[in-house]
């Protein structure tokens, strides 16, 4: 049986290739294989793949609280990533500061990491 994750991946790749009439073809396939029950799961995986792809192509900025547009712009300029689209994530556990992920690298200036380092020093 085809897994919903595989179907989501396939439809994402076809969409990337600008396949014509993709919707109709996809639903014809789903109907012919009697896979309608899998649609919610396919949607879940498709959203996840899209999000991961967006993160992969852009810059993910994680902060503990909402930040202003200007601040985002400053961060992107500071990291020489002004051209990249940003994905903002709120992570309360960071306490303060920010963590940016782009092109396989992380710039971590969060309070959480600072506190962890301090904890290590005190215990050692």
């Amino acid at each position: 049986m085809i897994k919903s994750k595989q179907l989501a991946k396939a439809i994402f790749e076809l969409a990337e290739e600008n396949t014509t009439n993709l919707d109709a073809k996809f639903f014809d396939f789903i109907d012919s294989r009697n896979l309608r029950a899998q649609l919610p799961s396919i949607l879940y995986h498709l959203e996840k793949i899209t999000e991961l792809e967006r993160e992969k192509k852009g810059i993910v900025i994680e902060t503990a609280h909402e930040i202003k547009h200007d601040t985002i712009k400053n961060i992107k300029t500071f990291l020489s990533a002004s051209e990249l689209p940003e994905v903002l994530k709120i992570k309360k556990e960071l306490v303060g500061g920010f963590r940016a992920k782009w092109q396989g690298a992380v710039y971590d200036s969060s309070i959480e990491t600072g506190l962890k380092k301090l904890e290590e020093i005190i215990i050692r």
Binding site: K48, L52, K101, G104, A105, V106, Y107, D108, S109, T113, G114, K117, L118, I121, I122
Partner: protein, 495 residues
């Protein structure tokens, strides 16, 4: 320490704290199953590099592919989630090593599992290391006395040798290794027992036996339990060797026991199949030979310029129905410098250790034998070879000529003398005395059932009255010593 001192110390540490941002490379978990994680990203990751999962687990990068990295998870992988961040550590897998590990039971990451507290060692050694080169080595010339008569006499092992212990299940393979460790008391040899995918109960039994015999004072046990997963089993022998190399670099002699490499190969097969590497013969991956050859090549005898230390390896292989020609046994036989072959048939006949003298060999150990043992063992081996040929005629009894009868009788006595209880190693000088006695026909008139008690009494007699002779036998062999030994045997028989 007063509260004020503590406060001062804390203040100093906090003052020395340098915060600031950090940068590192990261990847994302694409999938995780059966202890194997596929990571996207980590473009610059190196082979055998340690990676750290956000959930706390550590991993070892094994497969570097075009768009992903295959990682084996070291420890609990149940908390790892899809999409989780994985951090590069820029460190090749290493473990702490040091003198404080002696007497301890640790896992393959060097973490103690014997509830005797943490081990604080600052020295770190890589788990995988290229073996010592040709110019750093020298031939094997110092013996490892196992305390087992049949091995020390017929299949001698030298320091720096690799001698395979091979046989079916329940034939006494581990017993030989443990007896060898027990016999190293005062021999200036550090022993490392590596348990690969063994039952925890078996490891516990071995540790208690070693403690009982006082052998834990110079032994380290590295244990990867059968429930710890294939990653730990795969790493265990390399970690054990890294510990051994620490002592080797200090110019010491080390004995490594790998119990057993069949299970190690199985663990590696499991990892390779999960990493989707192409399966070969018996579904083992193509590099299963290299898996063991790179491990056993680390056993060596270094020359004086490089410290003069040694690593002796006793790998163990379990065969199925005595089949020596299976894939892993043939591989390891070809890598090692000889093998001790144990047979179920002999074990069931009560010949223990159940060593098949015909199929067992030691290619380099002969040079390491002490002079007296070399002298007496040659004659005994000849008697055993004759006996093996004539054994089939033994059933005809009276139809045989006197010479044949004599050879069969001698062979039977030698076979009986070679029997030995477990956990009862015998000093090599006493072995020389008993073997000399049987060679010279002093035991020919005894009944088979009397041999054991004769041997015990003879050893007690030597211990009581011939201490100088026993010491001389360790140093040399000449007519004078032979004469004294002959006299001692006659004196004992006269009593």
């Amino acid at each position: 320490m007063s509260a004020n001192t503590t406060i001062e110390n804390l203040k100093k540490r906090i003052a020395g704290f340098q915060g600031g941002a950090e940068t590192y490379e990261y990847g994302t978990v694409m999938s995780v199953s059966d202890g194997i994680a596929k990571i996207s990203g980590l473009a610059k990751c190196q082979s055998s590099e340690m990676v750290s999962f956000e959930s706390g687990a550590m991993g070892l990068a094994l497969n570097l592919e075009e768009d992903s990295v295959g990682v084996i998870v070291l420890g609990d992988f149940s908390k790892i989630r899809e999409g989780e961040t994985v951090k590069r550590t820029n460190k090749i897998l290493s473990i702490p090593v040091g003198d404080k590990f002696i007497g301890r039971v640790v896992n393959p990451l060097g973490v103690p599992i014997d509830e005797a507290g943490a081990i604080k060692e600052d020295v770190i050694y890589p788990v995988e290391k290229i073996a010592s080169g040709v110019m750093t080595r020298e031939p094997v010339k110092t013996p490892v006395q196992t305390g087992i008569k049949s091995i020390d006499a017929m299949i001698p092992i030298g320091r720096g040798q690799r001698e395979l212990i091979i046989g079916d299940r329940q034939t006494g393979k581990t017993a030989i290794a443990i007896d060898t460790i027990i016999n190293q008391k005062g021999q200036n040899l550090i022993c490392i027992y590596v348990a690969i995918s063994q039952k925890q109960s078996k490891v516990a039994r071995i540790v208690s036996k070693l403690k009982e015999a006082g052998a834990m004072d110079y032994t380290i046990v590295v244990s990867a339990g059968s429930s710890d997963g294939p990653a730990f089993s795969y790493l265990a022998p390399y970690s054990g060797t890294a510990l051994g190399e620490y002592f080797l670099d200090k110019g010491k002699d080390v004995l490594m026991v790998y119990d057993d490499l069949s299970k190690h190969a199985v663990a590696y097969r499991e990892i390779s199949l999960l990493l989707r590497r192409p399966p070969g013969r018996e579904a083992y991956p193509g590099d299963v030979f290299y898996l063991h050859s790179r491990l056993l090549e680390r056993a060596c005898r270094l020359n004086k310029n490089y410290g003069g230390g040694s690593i002796t390896a006793l790998p163990i292989i379990e065969t199925q129905a005595g089949d020596l020609s299976a894939y892993i046994p043939t591989n390891v036989i070809s890598i090692t410098d000889g093998q001790i072959f144990l047979e179920t048939g002999l074990f069931n006949k009560g010949i223990r250790p159940a060593i098949n003298a015909g199929l067992s060999v030691s290619r380099v150990g002969g040079n390491a034998q002490i002079k007296s043992m070399k002298k007496v063992a040659g004659k005994m081996k000849l008697a055993m070879a004759q006996y093996r040929e004539l054994e089939t005629f033994a059933q005809f009894g009276s139809d045989l000529d006197a010479e044949t009868k004599k050879a069969i009788n001698r062979g039977q006595k030698v076979t009986e003398l070679m029997k030995q209880n477990q956990y009862a190693p015998i000093p090599v000088s006493k072995q020389v005395c008993s073997i000399y006695a049987v060679n010279e026909g002093y035991l020919d008139e005894l009944e088979i059932t009397e041999i054991k008690s004769w041997e015990e009494n003879f050893y007690a007699f030597l211990e009581r009255t011939k201490k100088t002779l026993l010491a001389d036998l360790l140093k040399d062999w000449n007519e004078k010593i032979e004469g004294e030994l002959k006299g001692a045997i006659k004196e004992f028989l006269g009593n």
